[in-house]
């Protein structure tokens, strides 16, 4: 293609940019020439032609705007790392974090400057944004990876058969040994009890909202499910405390903790079940009703089985959520070092509470136990999550044809 992009008198940046990447005497179509490569004119060379000066020869037309070559970013990165290291060495900065930050700042500034020079301001802004987005990702990954890595590294040595099958009975805080059995048992029992309380109410409420809910009551229930979902766990604990222990004087027990956990679990179950029920196509309901099946049987035998996988996923996620709750357990179950199999009487323990207790002892053996128990807790929660996701993939609603 031939043709002039701009009259040569135009001192605009566009033409200058085009020329920057295009050697004047080079024949053939121009392609992405490296800024510093032999044959290419250095980007700094051309200066805006003053209006009065003799017009330079007409530029060769190009189809593609000049681009920085791919390797230039790698080169810039190496260069900035070198600058960062040099700055760190010269100024005797002890923290390698500072070296890295200097290198990153130099890299971002140099990339922006160079891109603005060669490719134009808009492309430079684009590249800067891409860099920042990648940086956000890196910044987020660092602490989260450190969290998981640290827990595994410091917890894994402590987790063995002994740790999982023994309680803390008779083990003093500065002694080694002891285990997590009583806490694991407590967590499982409390979570089970909580789900026995929360599941019927949650599932039926969701059925009410989707299948029966009309008018004011449904709107009010929806609103309060949202409110309930926002209750901080410690407030749920305080409520059960004021009702169960202060007024009814029933004492600390696993059941009291389960009540608070159920309070936290119900809105999650309602929400996820509601969403799943709404995904069931109305044709299914109508087909069943047209065959004369009563509505309750339609709901139980047609609607619920259709979305059973999705509901189970929601329930698993809710279980994972409450298994990690500490605050209500701290207020209501109180914690003990002994194995208490009975969740209805007397203090129990639970995994999150165990971690907190061991942490607050502040001795090295106790820290080791805290990390090990944290690892067991994460493993439990992740297991529930993975199960939920596997279930969702296996039985979940698929987009229809």
């Amino acid at each position: 293609m031939t043709g002039r992009l701009r009259p040569p008198e135009d001192p605009g940046g566009e033409e200058e940019r085009l020329r920057a990447a295009m050697p004047p005497g080079e024949p053939g179509p121009t392609r992405d020439l490296p800024a510093g490569a032999p044959g290419a004119r250095p980007p700094a060379a051309p200066s805006p032609a003053p209006p009065g000066a003799a017009p330079p020869p007409a530029p060769r037309p190009v189809l593609r705007p000049p681009r920085l070559p791919r390797w230039s970013l790698a080169a810039l990165l190496t260069g900035s790392l070198a600058v960062g290291t040099a700055a760190g060495l010269i100024c005797r900065l002890s923290s390698h974090l500072q070296w890295g930050l200097i290198a990153a700042a130099v890299f971002v500034a140099a990339t922006f400057g160079l891109t603005a020079r060669v490719e134009g301001r808009r492309r430079a802004a684009d590249r800067l944004a891409a860099l920042l987005v990648w940086a956000c990702f890196a910044v987020a990954v660092l602490p989260l990876a450190a969290l998981v890595g640290e827990t595994v590294a410091r917890g894994a040595p402590g987790v063995d058969g002994y740790f999982l099958t023994h309680s803390m009975n008779g083990v003093l805080s500065w002694q080694h040994g002891g285990g997590v059995y009583h806490a694991l048992l407590g967590t499982l029992e409390q979570v089970l009890l909580a789900s026995l309380l929360a599941l019927p109410v949650g599932l039926l409420t969701a059925v009410y909202l989707v299948e029966y809910g009309r008018g004011r009551l449904a709107a009010v229930v929806t609103f309060f499910v949202d409110v309930m979902a926002g209750i901080p766990s410690i407030v749920a604990g305080l409520f059960v405390l004021s009702l169960w222990i202060t007024i009814l004087d029933l004492g600390y027990s696993g059941l009291a903790g389960s009540l608070a956990l159920a309070l936290l679990m119900t809105p999650i179950v309602v929400r996820s079940t509601e969403e799943m029920l709404r995904l069931v196509p109305n044709e299914l309901r109508e087909a069943a009703l047209a065959l004369g099946v009563p509505k309750w049987r339609t709901t139980l035998r047609v609607v619920l089985p259709t979305c059973a996988g999705g509901i189970a996923t929601g329930v698993m996620l809710a279980l994972a959520r409450i298994a990690g709750e500490t605050a209500p357990i701290l207020l209501l179950v109180f914690g003990t070092n002994m194995i208490n199999r009975d969740p209805f009487h007397g203090a129990q323990s639970s995994l999150p509470l165990y971690v907190y207790e061991q942490w607050s002892f502040g001795t090295e053996p106790a820290y080791e136990r805290a990390w090990a128990a944290a690892l067991v807790l994460i493993a439990l929660v992740m297991l529930l999550n993975l199960l939920a996701r596997a279930l969702a993939r296996w039985k979940g609603p698929r987009p229809g044809p």
Binding site: F137, V139, T246
Partner: protein, 322 residues
């Protein structure tokens, strides 16, 4: 179909069906009402206990810098707790929301597709890590590593007063804010990501067709479309941060003083105060804690309510537009 097995509309089966329907509908409605009653009970019990405590309070509940609940004339107030809760949550928001928006953009518009799905999955998984694990990590890993960083901040910005650092272990509101930021990052990211994903393709392609760069597409179509989504996601994150207990209780070294500097240890938050004072408190002391818990409840109610409102309005708008 065989006539003998067919259900006839009428007779005994119809009555049974009607009865079943009535029972089932009643059960469903009943559990909805149970839920409402539970919420009402929460509000009533907390309010009753809180009023009992407030009647005994010798100080001003809103402005007293003290928490003395035992003995003859108890004196307690939430000034320090309110400041600590607000300060740490705001720090968390300031740190987490831009990064979360960045990650959401990364996942929807920048990451290679093969990388985006597993990372999104991983972020969701991290939202499930229990808060006590974050607390343990914050206290034993983050606190010692932040000391150097705070010394540098003190050197560079110590003259502001807000960022001066006296050199004690970094168990301060700033550390709590940083930890809370890490904790709310997954939830804010996943909500924001969902909103960005719903940006109409046609708008984005129109921008591209006009020659926009990727960043211009994001700036002109994705961000304006997702603005209310970002706001509501941050509000949800804020709700989480306000009510967070264990992570704060492990990291913060509490005191009933407000420091000018955010980097010096001390201060407190509602949830942390309840968790750490509870074991020593008698009934009156617990009532005082319940009063502070009620304030926290109202605070989260306000924040979550605002978030829901924005989401609901946006849903209507999106429904009309798509």
């Amino acid at each position: 179909m065989n006539a003998t097995t067919q259900r006839h509309p009428g007779g005994a089966s119809r009555r049974a069906a009607r009865l079943g329907d009535r029972i089932f509908a009643g059960l469903a409605k009943g559990s909805g009402i149970t839920l409402l009653l539970t919420m009402a009970a929460v509000a009533v019990f907390l309010t009753v206990r809180a009023t009992l405590a407030l009647r005994e309070d010798e100080g001003n509940f809103l402005t007293t810098f003290e928490w003395r609940t035992g003995g003859e004339d108890p004196e307690f107030g939430i000034a320090v707790l309110l400041f600590g809760t607000a300060a740490s949550s705001l720090i968390a928001m300031l740190l987490a929301v831009p990064v979360a928006v960045g990650i959401a953009l990364f996942l929807t518009h920048y990451a290679p597709r093969r990388l985006a799905a597993p990372i999104a999955w991983l972020v969701d998984l991290l939202a499930a890590v229990p808060s006590i694990v974050y607390g343990l990590w914050g206290a034993l890993y983050l606190v010692p590593r932040l000391t150097g960083c705070y010394e540098w901040l003190d050197g560079a910005f110590g003259w502001t007063g807000v960022l001066s650092y006296a050199g004690a272990p970094a168990r301060s509101l700033m550390t709590v804010g940083i930890l809370l930021a890490v904790m709310i990052l997954p939830i804010v990211t996943s909500v924001t990501r969902e909103v960005f994903r719903q940006t109409p393709r046609a708008t984005q392609e129109a921008a591209l067709a006009l020659g926009a760069t990727r960043w211009e597409v994001v700036r002109m179509t994705v961000l304006p479309f997702g603005r209310s989504g970002i706001v509501s996601a941050s509000m949800l994150g804020l709700g989480r941060a306000l009510g967070e207990t264990m992570a704060v209780a492990t990291v913060l070294s509490p005191s009933f003083l407000i420091h000018a500097s955010l980097l010096d240890s001390g201060g407190g938050t509602f949830a942390q105060n309840i968790a750490s004072q509870f074991k020593e408190a008698d009934t009156a002391g617990r009532d005082a804690l319940i009063a502070s818990g009620l304030v926290l409840f109202l605070l989260t109610l306000l924040v979550n309510g605002a978030a829901r409102l924005i989401i609901a309005r946006r849903r209507e708008y999106a429904g009309a537009a798509l």
